[in-house]
């Protein structure tokens, strides 16, 4: 373990240390909401998924959906944290039209989960431990809609009451890269545990970042909180901007005002949302409608038995079961879908070859079109067939890459493309011999160079054969025949 990376910001007055703590809001994967029987699904019509409680009708009461509790316990275990046998739901009071009860049911002093950690990779060999202070459960709010009418606002309460896990880190992160790594890793862990789908576009995972800067080893600086960052890219950009903003202010002799800020993705800047003076007094107190949440050890034990393989375990398994190197294992285990794709692809094939194809070819193409592996136009099954054609000598590795490009564009099967374009490898020795004889006959200079001991000219001959066969000649056989002929 090591926790030193070079400081990211060097100003006029020298290096600055950045101190970052993150609050991640992860929507619990659950059919029902935290305290009602409203559906917790995404993409329904406005106000379709409402139970009586979700619009705060008088006399309705919250009751705990125990599946959500199980999910929180599972998440806590996946984050190496302590599941508290006793926790309390509190009311967080504030007025806003999309908050139907006039308070949010959350957990304040006694969260369900505390003291966990995630290890993030600093480089090939070093990792850094980011401590998680707590994970608590709370209700999501509804959504205000302001763009439907010039006079009126509307509210969609579908999301109101959906269960969120707020996961609060210690201020252990030292730059935007670490922050990005931490959220990526956290997201993966929750997705592996199947407790949050991690879909940031749909808002299933959102972040608030607390950022301050200080001279190395000085006391902590004043922090600003940046709210509602909805992608890892924005999170990183926002922290980078904010840290630099604070450094410039401090270096020009000004002070930092403690405040809540918003990040504008278009301008790449953060701006004031509300100052400390405007901060809400939430008047937290235990919700008298709900009894304290008691969790027996046995329940925790039962849930721990259902915990699926997590990224760290998967990484180790990839190394031992498939003999992958550290780097490959890390990249393949970074996303649930990648791991699944890899395991499908390597079934009955060389795992190293499978990993190479995913990391060097597939990821490159996917990056070009900004898609994830689950949206890949080439399925693992299709790619597998392509690799089979390489492995049985039908096409060369080089042709395979060409075919792969074509598959990516057309989503045709490899075999189809090879047949259409006549890309099948020439492995017939007689045919190749005839070509080699012809080239030797026509290029006396090069033959002589070889005979004088310039073996590098070998490559030139191979190139000529490939040129004539449009790359379809089997390189192994070509090499063998050229050597035989030249040495005669």
């Amino acid at each position: 373990m090591s926790d030193t990376r070079p400081y990211k910001i060097t100003g006029k007055t020298g290096s600055w240390e950045i101190v970052i703590g993150l609050e991640v809001h992860a929507q619990v994967s659950s059919k029902l909401k935290l305290f009602s029987n409203g559906a917790a699904s995404f993409g329904s019509n406005e106000n379709e998924n409402l139970d009586l409680l979700d619009i705060g009708l008088p006399g309705t009461l919250p009751t705990i959906n125990s599946f959500v509790i199980d999910q929180a316990i599972k998440s806590g275990l996946a984050l190496n944290a302590k599941v508290n046998n006793f926790s309390i739901f509190d009311r967080k009071n504030y007025f806003y039209p999309d908050l139907p009860l006039g308070y949010q049911i959350s957990q304040y002093k006694e969260p369900i989960i505390s003291d966990g950690y995630i290890d993030i990779d600093i480089n090939e060999n070093d990792s850094k431990r980011i401590r998680i202070e707590r994970l608590h459960l709370e209700q999501d709010a509804g959504k205000s809609i302001h763009d439907q009418s010039p006079e009126d606002s509307f509210i969609d309460f579908n999301r109101a009451g959906v269960a969120l896990m707020e996961i609060v880190s210690h201020p252990d992160l030292s730059d935007w890269d670490e922050a990005g790594d931490y959220v990526t890793k956290l997201r993966n862990i929750l997705r592996f545990a199947n407790t949050c789908d991690g879909n940031m576009q749909e808002g299933s995972l959102r972040c608030d970042a607390n950022v301050s800067v200080r001279k190395p080893n000085n006391a902590l600086g004043t922090r600003c909180e940046i709210k509602n960052l909805n992608s890892i890219k924005n999170l990183m950009k926002a922290i980078e901007f904010e840290a630099n903003r604070q450094v410039s202010l401090l270096e020009s002799g000004e002070t930092i005002a403690q405040e809540t800020r918003l990040f504008d993705a278009n301008s790449g800047k953060t701006r004031t949302m509300r100052s400390k003076e405007e901060a809400h007094d939430y008047r937290y107190f235990p919700d008298p409608d709900l009894l304290p949440l008691k969790i027996e050890e046995d329940r925790i034990h039962q849930i721990s038995k259902t915990l699926p393989e997590l990224p760290a375990q998967l990484k180790e398994r990839l190394k031992s079961q498939y003999n992958l190197g550290s780097y490959d294992a890390r990249v393949i285990s970074a996303e649930l879908e990648t791991a699944k794709y890899f395991e499908d692809l390597s079934e009955g094939r060389d795992p190293k070859q499978a990993a190479n194809w995913i990391i060097s070819n597939l990821f490159g193409k996917l990056n070009e079109i900004d898609k994830s592996i689950s949206e890949s136009p080439i399925s693992s099954k299709k790619l597998g067939k392509l690799l089979d054609l390489v492995n049985d000598g039908t096409i060369s590795n080089k042709i395979a890459k060409e075919v792969f490009e074509e598959m990516f564009m057309s989503s045709k099967e490899a075999k189809e493309i090879i047949e259409e374009k006549g890309l099948k490898q020439i492995s017939n020795e007689d045919d190749i011999e005839k070509l080699v004889d012809k080239i030797i006959l026509e290029n006396e200079t090069q033959v002589n160079q070889f005979k004088e001991g310039n073996t590098k000219v070998m490559g030139w001959f191979v190139g000529q054969v490939m040129k004539l066969t449009k790359g379809q000649a089997n390189p192994g056989i070509v090499n063998k025949i050229i050597l035989k002929k030249l040495n005669n």
């Binding site: 619009i55 009708l57 009461l61 009071n93 007025f95 009860l101 006039g102 008047r283 107190f285």
Partner: protein, 490 residues
């Protein structure tokens, strides 16, 4: 008065089952009674048409198919959501609110055959001790002699207590947060029972203070209260604070007497300035219970004095959050626009929608929870609440039941305490401690004041011992033999 109206609930149940009188006749008789007594302003909503329809259906049924409360007319405090009627909690902010769901308590009673004949006026959101903050005006106590100085029926369940006092229903439903069943029962000469917190589901009851609110019956007799509670209470998965502890059979041993039972009288309940007649009433209570064979001993509940301030921190604190949902956004009253901004809409809506007393308590509640005051008030009050509960716990090691007055006075003149909230809050001094401890308690009419107004005695027992409580109450009722009814011919 029609003879039917003189019957108790239990007697009426038997009569209906005997088919000597039709359910229709019962319901009509009660409707007529309510029509004749409108001057007391007890009702928020009449449900006569539906009641008659239901009665007709019952009359075509065979008696062997009769449920335990078949055809029994009941009055429901306007804080219970009932499908088909408005439910307003006597507030302008819910003035046109129709709940699309039924409270568990009224559902249980309807399933047992009871017929909701009317809904009753109350203090707005159950915040009050005089039923003088209803949107429909003050409820007048049927014991009033001089209509130029009408008396309060007590509160907040004043409408429900008054209806039973004039025999407008076989029993009524109230809710009790700090005394809102027991004090009006005492002022109107009825029996008022607040069960153990958690006995009756709070689902569908408009919340005032969630950790204290509890539904209960107001009736003519102790036996009626036992009968009614039997069919009101249930464990309900829709209310996390309702308890899954079996209710003892409340009727089986109710008349078996109290020989050997230990009754405690807390010395702290004899407060400064308590009138002679209340002292005398308490003395009578002691004697009656002793005469019935109980052992009466003096006990101490040392934290009694701080119960009232503790209550007036916790209840408003919870209310300040419970009533935050009335914001003009989703349902209920919204002030006339246009508004300058969102805050303007909130301020106007809540400013116009809530009455003075509700606003006072919301302010208190918001204050005691706010940063900087939270520890000094709310946390402190929670600690005091635990101390009060411990007082009772240790007392119940020595005694089975505790005896006290229900209220420090008889019914006072409406308006008399309206501008003096502290004096008004003192009405709850004897009822609040057991509410804070979540204990079952009952008020039994036990005598008349020098003004010839009813006075109640309160009994408190340990959690989930409603059987012991009711047995003692029955003995006390027998001994007190309170038979006075208000004279309505004024």
């Amino acid at each position: 008065m029609n003879e039917l109206l003189k019957l108790s609930l239990v007697e009426t149940v038997k009569l209906i089952k005997s088919k000597k009188v039709s359910a229709k006749e019962i319901i009509e008789t009660y409707i007529n009674r309510l029509e004749d007594t409108e001057k007391y302003n007890m009702l928020s909503e009449k449900n006569y048409d539906e009641a008659l329809e239901l009665a007709n259906k019952i009359d075509s049924k065979k008696p062997e198919d009769f449920r335990p409360l078949e055809g029994i007319p009941i009055a429901v405090k306007d804080i219970f959501c009932t499908v088909g009627n408005k439910t307003t909690a006597s507030s302008k902010i819910l003035n046109n609110f129709f709940a699309p769901y039924e409270s568990t308590v009224t559902k249980n009673l309807k399933n047992a055959g009871a017929i909701v004949i009317c809904k009753t006026n109350m203090d707005e959101f159950a915040m009050g001790s005089a039923s003088d903050t209803c949107i429909k005006g003050e409820v007048i106590n049927p014991w009033t002699d001089d209509f130029s100085k009408p008396l309060t029926p007590g509160g907040s369940s004043g409408g429900s207590a008054a209806v039973v006092a004039i025999s407008g229903a076989c029993f009524s439903l109230g809710t009790d947060t700090g005394g809102s069943i027991r004090q009006p029962a005492s002022f109107c000469g009825n029996v008022g029972l607040k069960p153990t917190y958690g006995r009756c589901s709070r689902y569908g009851i408009i919340a005032f203070a969630s950790s204290l609110d509890q539904a209960g019956p107001i009736s003519k007799t102790v036996e009626d209260a036992a009968y009614a509670l039997t069919y009101m209470a249930s464990w309900d998965k829709n209310d996390s604070t309702s308890v899954n502890i079996k209710m003892p059979d409340l009727l089986k041993n109710i008349k078996e007497g109290i020989k050997g039972l230990k009754v405690g009288v807390p010395k702290e309940y004899i407060i400064d300035g308590m009138s002679d007649e209340i002292q005398k009433l308490l003395e009578n209570g002691r004697t009656w219970l002793k005469d019935q064979g109980a052992e009466v001993i003096d006990i101490s509940l040392p934290h009694t004095k701080v119960a009232l301030p503790c209550y007036y921190i916790i209840a408003p604190a919870e209310a300040s959050a419970n009533l935050a949902r009335y914001d003009g956004v989703k349902f209920g009253y919204r002030a006339e626009g246009p508004f300058k901004d969102l805050n303007d809409m909130y301020c106007k809506t809540r400013g116009e929608g809530f009455g003075k007393e509700v606003k006072r308590r919301l302010l208190i509640g918001t204050y005691v929870l706010s940063s900087g005051y939270y520890d000094a008030y709310y946390i402190h009050a929670q600690k005091v609440r635990r101390k009060i509960a411990e007082d009772f716990n240790s007392a119940f090691k020595d005694v089975d039941v505790i005896l006290s007055p229900t209220a420090p006075s008889d019914a006072f003149v409406l308006g008399e305490k309206k501008e003096d909230p502290i004096n008004m809050y003192l009405n709850d001094v004897f009822t609040v401690p057991s509410s804070l401890a979540g204990l079952p308690a009952i008020s039994i009419p036990a005598g008349l004041s020098k003004n010839n107004k009813p006075l109640g005695l309160q009994l408190i027992s340990n959690k989930f011992t409603e059987d012991t409580l009711l047995k003692t109450a029955f003995a006390l009722e027998e001994a007190a033999s309170f038979t006075h009814r208000p004279n309505l011919e004024k």
